[in-house]
């Protein structure tokens, strides 16, 4: 059953790949005709933009055709659809626009985007259960901070999972559901919510905590945190390792990086806030509204 579903998605991804290549070739070869077809004025500037969009379509399509179905490249198509939609939307307001054709063009792009979204999401799910593919796409993050408090104190603060949303800004809540089990709710990009259950796989008081998400998690991950004494009474060397498989894979993570949501940076920001809380007792912030 799962296998049949996977082949179906592969076929959809391949189809969308060929569609990308075809559309891209048309945009590059006769940008004027495509522009008129979707209701844009045929000018030098429009042609240049159209050729650029065409090159993007070809590259994206070839990537989809060349690789095993990768949800990352499907998400890249979704991003491309968003760019196309905003370009067409911007053109609606112009004097010389053919609004009827533009409306048809936008409706078509929206339709294709729906197909892209469905395919990307489904690919993301099947890949989540395909172990071999999963290993390839894992994102690993390792960050370390020295906190000027003894290891037992830093461990105790972290082990009380209620504390985590205070410094992990993307977390909405962590609720302990058993001795080692907990339920996590996080905010993702564009207001999306993610939820998962996790279990602690190792708990060495004042030394190490390891955990992993349970099957069915929106964000499939595992991680551990070590609390090593820093030399010369300098406090605790905190070391965090995370390995996870974001929806959308590595390409999505690269795209996210462009918008400042790179996973390594996020973990670093989280740990810096933890350091501030444990050392200074509060998280540093400027009065952002006090300005002209």
């Amino acid at each position: 059953m799962a296998e049949a579903q996977a082949t179906g998605q592969q076929r959809l991804a391949t189809g969308l790949g060929w569609f990308s290549v075809g559309l891209g070739l048309a945009e590059v070869a006769s940008p004027g005709a495509v522009a008129r077809f979707v209701g844009l004025r045929d000018s030098g500037g429009t042609r240049t933009v159209m050729r650029t969009f065409g090159a993007r379509e070809i590259a994206n399509g070839m990537a989809l055709l060349a690789s095993r179905p990768d949800p990352g490249w499907m998400w890249a198509r979704v991003a491309g659809d968003v760019i196309d939609l905003s370009a067409l939307g911007a053109a609606v307001g112009r004097e010389d626009a053919d609004r009827r054709r533009l409306a048809i063009g936008m409706a078509s792009v929206a339709g294709v985007m729906l197909a892209d979204l469905v395919c990307a999401r489904q690919l993301g799910r099947t890949n989540g259960t395909a172990t071999a593919a999963r290993q390839d796409r894992a994102i690993r993050v390792a960050k370390t901070f020295t906190i000027n408090r003894p290891p037992d104190e830093v461990y105790a603060y972290w082990r009380n999972l209620d504390h985590l949303p205070r410094f992990m800004r993307h977390l909405q809540s962590v609720r302990e559901t058993g001795a080692r089990r907990s339920h996590w709710v996080a905010r993702g990009p564009a207001g999306m919510m993610f939820e998962w259950d996790a279990e602690i796989t190792e708990d060495l008081p004042n030394q190490r905590i390891a955990w992993r998400s349970l099957p069915g998690a929106d964000v499939d991950h595992r991680g551990d945190v070590r609390f090593d004494p820093a030399p010369g009474g300098r406090g605790t060397e905190l070391r965090v390792h995370l390995e996870y498989h974001p929806p959308g894979g590595r390409t999505a993570a690269r795209l996210a990086r462009l918008f400042g949501r790179e996973p390594g940076q996020q973990v670093e920001d989280d740990l810096r806030r933890l350091k501030q809380l444990l050392e200074a007792g509060e998280i540093a912030r400027a009065s952002e509204e006090v300005r002209a």
Binding site: T146, N148, R234, G235, Q265, E268, D269, R272, K275, Q276, E279, A280, G281, E282, I283, A284, R285, A286, S287, E288, E289, V290, R291, A292
Partner: protein, 390 residues
């Protein structure tokens, strides 16, 4: 409230902005009674410090009366008269425990920006770019002061604002510059730049036992203060060759320590080096003009110390590293760890050993800030130091 806002390169305006509020438990709100324009504010004014944003409130030298405290502030209460140090420091991290307050690890909310530029982040600073925290500054009617039980020092009513205001920055900065020289009896200290920091560095070097202090500048009013008020020997670099003059004054040995109180926007007289650095800086090929620093290194006696108090922001060209290495020079520098010096220097002011108010040439209203900045920038009307009163 009224506040002095950075509105672009060479544009400051006094604007109405929202009053600051307590945001964190260790905050205090201070009603500003006096605030000064610092030479380093001119680096912001001239657009040499990155990450300033239109509308940012300026000012890191200020004092006033505490009007509100957060729930975790133990040592201050409303009504206290305080001077606020420019570095924001938590008092509890490894750096603060070593009294390296300007390196506080917890006070810069935008530490990641500074880490990209400098490797690690220093502390947050009031009114000094988003790179250093984006904190609203003190050239305003009110200021929010984080970690209020660590920074602000209470001052007695018997001392005037002008006697204690400079504890916020330039007095400790001049003092740390002189302290970094490791002065021993018989030493000669040369000071590049006789602006407020240079003048206070001269006074501090004398307090710390320097035999002779040589002051280098080109503005007659500054050289007059250094010579007549403080008793330093003076060199006008537009008239004399500085290296020759220093050799001459020290029997050919060179000064035992050299203080750079100039920084990134140095000026030089008819010099090819100046033109070179001016062009490179304008083309963004280097961020700072290290003309005074190069000369201080070249002039320093072998085995001596070069103490850098002037502000630098980024990268420079043609740094004479061979001179530093082959002649065993020591370079000491840093943003001032103001909190470390507040109480000892306040005591010296109370005892009458030092009165930094002699540098004030202009007293103006906060509303006159745009004029004050322009005047200070162009050194018009003998302007050495401006104090603004909200």
């Amino acid at each position: 409230m009224k506040a002095v806002c950075w509105m672009g390169t060479k544009q400051v305006e006094v604007r109405d902005v929202p009053n600051p509020e307590i945001l964190n438990p260790r905050d205090a709100i201070v009603r500003v009674t006096s605030t000064a324009i610092c030479g380093s504010d001119l680096h912001l004014y001239d657009g040499f410090i990155p990450t300033m944003q239109r509308g940012d409130v300026l000012g890191h030298e200020f004092m006033g009366e505490v009007v509100e405290v957060g729930r975790d502030v133990q040592h201050l209460r409303p009504g206290d008269r305080v001077v606020v140090p420019f570095p924001i420091a938590c008092g509890r991290c490894n750096m603060c425990e070593r009294e390296l307050y300007s390196l506080c690890e917890n006070s810069n909310p935008n530490a990641w920006m500074a880490e990209k530029l400098w490797g690690y982040s220093p502390c947050g600073i009031f009114g000094y770019s988003h790179l250093l925290g984006g904190y609203a500054g003190g050239q305003a009617e009110y200021a929010r002061v984080p970690f209020a039980d660590v920074g602000p020092v209470k001052v007695p009513d018997g001392l005037s604002d002008e006697q204690v205001l400079f504890l916020s920055d330039i007095l400790p900065t001049g003092y740390m510059a002189a302290e970094n020289c490791g002065i021993v009896p018989g030493d000669t200290v040369a000071v590049w730049g006789c602006g407020p920091v240079g003048l206070l560095a001269i006074a501090a070097a004398q307090l710390l036992g320097a035999e002779r202090v040589v002051a280098i500048d080109r503005f007659p009013e500054r050289l007059r203060l250094a010579g007549l008020k403080l008793g330093a020997e003076t060199v006008d670099y537009t008239e004399d060759d500085v290296l020759e003059a220093l050799k001459d004054l020290t029997g050919g040995r060179g000064p035992d320590a050299c203080i750079d109180a100039v920084g990134m926007e140095a000026h030089a007289h008819h010099s090819l080096a100046y033109a070179y650095d001016r062009v490179k800086q304008a083309m963004a090929l280097e961020s700072d003009r290290p003309i005074a620093l190069r000369e201080a290194i070249q002039a320093c006696r072998s085995g001596g110390t070069v103490s850098v108090a002037g502000v630098y922001g980024g990268v420079i060209d043609k740094f004479p590293v061979g001179t530093v290495m082959n002649r065993s020079l020591t370079i000491k520098t840093g943003q001032t760890h103001v909190q470390r010096y507040l109480r000892p220097l306040l005591q010296r002011i109370e005892k009458g050993e030092i009165d930094p108010s002699f540098i004030v040439t202009h007293r103006m209203k906060l509303e006159e800030a745009p004029l004050a900045y322009a005047m200070f920038r162009r050194k018009q009307d003998g302007c050495i130091k401006v104090v603004l009163r909200p």
